[in-house]
């Protein structure tokens, strides 16, 4: 991958024609779709390797051949430059983003922007959820792919959605003993979802390979126990509680679209409803801001197949190839229907909103318990009185939790979007910064 060529801009300011944020399935598909146009494309991701969460690489990762092929294709494109381990901190001026990696910070100007920020897990508080040994479900999968040892450990997987089965399969492959998979959705919802899978044969095939005899529907975590580390988990399954000894609990309640960067740029969100807000896009993946597109899970979760086709549509549109984009619309409609099934069937049961007790911490950064939030009018009120959401994660975990537990609108993004070095932040007021001589 070679440096992007500076184009029409202030001298010295790094420039590209197309900036793609996020190198998961959507971002990779977007860059590949736009690449034949010859545009100078920059693809940015905060992880050490491309692939996003689903194709996360590592010593214990098994990346599907299709994903490997996309990575190879990207590497062959001379006009696509990849910046890994790189975070977006702010938008210091229109058409510019401030970036930071482990060594340096710099401003990058763009003509077109595609947001592929993905989604994070919905991590909800329950007694004991801060104990070491408790992780997200996708979180455990990511940590295992990164080489975290789990061999011979007893693992309980809990929460909701097909991700639970994928997490359990990763854990088992890594030598762990998965002793219970607790799906909160009722049996009829899961069976209904399974029956619908006939419409997406590839998904049905995946589901069959992941089937697990420890899978229980209408089952949810009630509490995690341990003094310094997780020692056991109490589960409630169809009205009966049982406590299982285990070394790990992987618990995730679905996905929350990452909308912070889009919000910062003024992109409209989907209307408030039962789902967490997502970036609003039209049928061409265009956001409400000119020249800004969005694709993948940040537009509402729906899986990697939908992200791939959305990304390709956005990439073609950014490159001005409307015809190529149009051809993909039926394929996207097929996966949009899958996404709707996913959201309906795995909707959260009321009991999940009642798991946190008054002394359960909701804000893990500032150690704020639920009792300090109850009775407050919303985020601003809660922040003023308790520092909830004012820590390092900037409300990404507790904000999503408070929306589910208390119905509060998530907090507006704060600058910088991630903790950053002072030297980098100073750049946002400097007139221009040169593009670093070489990337990753």
């Amino acid at each position: 991958m070679t440096p992007s060529t500076p184009s029409n801009s202030a001298p010295g300011l790094a420039q590209c024609d197309l900036l793609v944020i996020g190198a998961g399935p959507a971002g990779m598909a977007a860059a590949l779709a736009a690449a034949p146009s010859g545009m100078a494309i920059v693809l940015v991701d905060d992880n050490p390797a491309p692939g996003g969460q689903i194709w996360r690489d590592g010593p214990d990762a098994h990346i599907p051949p299709a994903a490997r092929h996309m990575r190879e294709q990207l590497a062959r494109r001379a006009n696509v430059r990849l910046h890994l381990g790189t975070r977006v901190l702010s938008a210091p001026a229109p058409g510019q983003l401030l970036l930071e990696d482990a060594e340096r910070g710099w401003c990058l100007g763009w003509q077109k922007l595609i947001l592929c920020n993905g989604a994070r897990e919905l991590l909800l508080p329950f007694p004991g959820w801060t104990l070491p040994g408790v992780t997200g479900a996708g979180g455990l999968q990511a940590l295992i792919k990164g080489g975290m040892p789990v061999a011979d450990q007893r693992i309980v997987v809990a929460g909701t959605g097909p991700l639970l089965l994928a997490a359990a399969a990763s854990a088992r492959q890594a030598g762990a003993r998965v002793i219970h998979i607790a799906e909160q959705a009722p049996r009829r919802a899961v069976l209904g979802f399974a029956a619908q899978l006939l419409r997406w044969p590839a998904k049905l095939g995946q589901a069959l390979t992941l089937a697990d005899r420890h899978y229980r529907t209408a089952s949810h975590v009630q509490a995690a126990h341990g003094s310094k580390q997780l020692e056991s988990v109490t589960l409630r399954t169809r009205g009966r509680s049982e406590t299982l000894d285990c070394e790990r609990l992987a618990c995730g309640f679905g996905l929350v679209p990452n909308t912070q960067l889009g919000q910062l740029l003024g992109c409209a969100l989907t209307p408030a409803g039962t789902q967490a807000p997502a970036l609003l896009v039209d049928c061409w993946q265009a956001t409400s801001r000119p020249s800004v597109y969005a694709a993948g899970e940040c537009t509402g979760f729906g899986g990697s197949e939908r992200a791939l086709v959305q990304g390709a549509i956005a990439g073609h549109m950014a490159a001005g190839n409307n015809q190529a984009a149009q051809k993909l619309l039926p394929e996207r409609a097929r996966w949009d229907a899958f996404a709707r099934q996913l959201r309906q069937r795995f909707a959260l049961q009321p009991a999940i909103r009642q798991l946190a007790q008054p002394d359960t911490l909701v804000c893990r950064c500032e150690d704020v318990p639920l009792a300090a939030l109850q009775g407050r009018g919303g985020w601003t009120d809660a922040k003023l009185h308790s520092r909830c959401g004012m820590g390092a994660c900037q409300g990404r975990i507790c904000g999503a939790a408070a929306q589910v537990l208390l119905g509060w609108s998530p907090p507006a993004p704060k600058l910088p979007l991630s903790p950053a070095r002072i030297g980098t932040l100073a750049l946002s007021s400097a007139p221009s910064t040169p593009e670093p001589a070489h990337g990753n």
């Binding site: 690489d57 590592g58 010593p59 482990a102 801060t130 040994g133 979180g139 940590l143 990404r396 903790p419």
Partner: protein
């Protein structure tokens, strides 16, 4: 598979290349990355760079253990 050695609070740890620092924390000990403001041990939680529970000091800079690959000779410090 190549092995490499890094240091966590000066103690040497050997891991396979390609492992994250989050993995190294668990290879070396109980996986704890930091103490919370009320004194609880915290370990990598979201695994994907969101929750900030795994923030540690790596070669003098604050980084997320789950998004940083181990390098030979790397110095990782956990807050006391």
């Amino acid at each position: 598979m190549t092995l490499l050695q890094l240091f966590i609070n000066v103690e040497p740890v050997v891991v396979r290349s390609g492992c994250t620092v989050a993995a190294a924390l668990r290879v070396a000990g109980d996986g704890t990355a930091r103490m919370s403001i009320s004194g609880q041990s915290r370990a990598p939680f979201c695994g994907m760079g969101v929750c900030q529970e795994c923030r540690v000091t790596i070669d003098g800079q604050q980084r997320l253990a789950c998004q940083t690959l181990c390098q030979d000779g790397m110095q990782v410090r956990l807050a006391p």
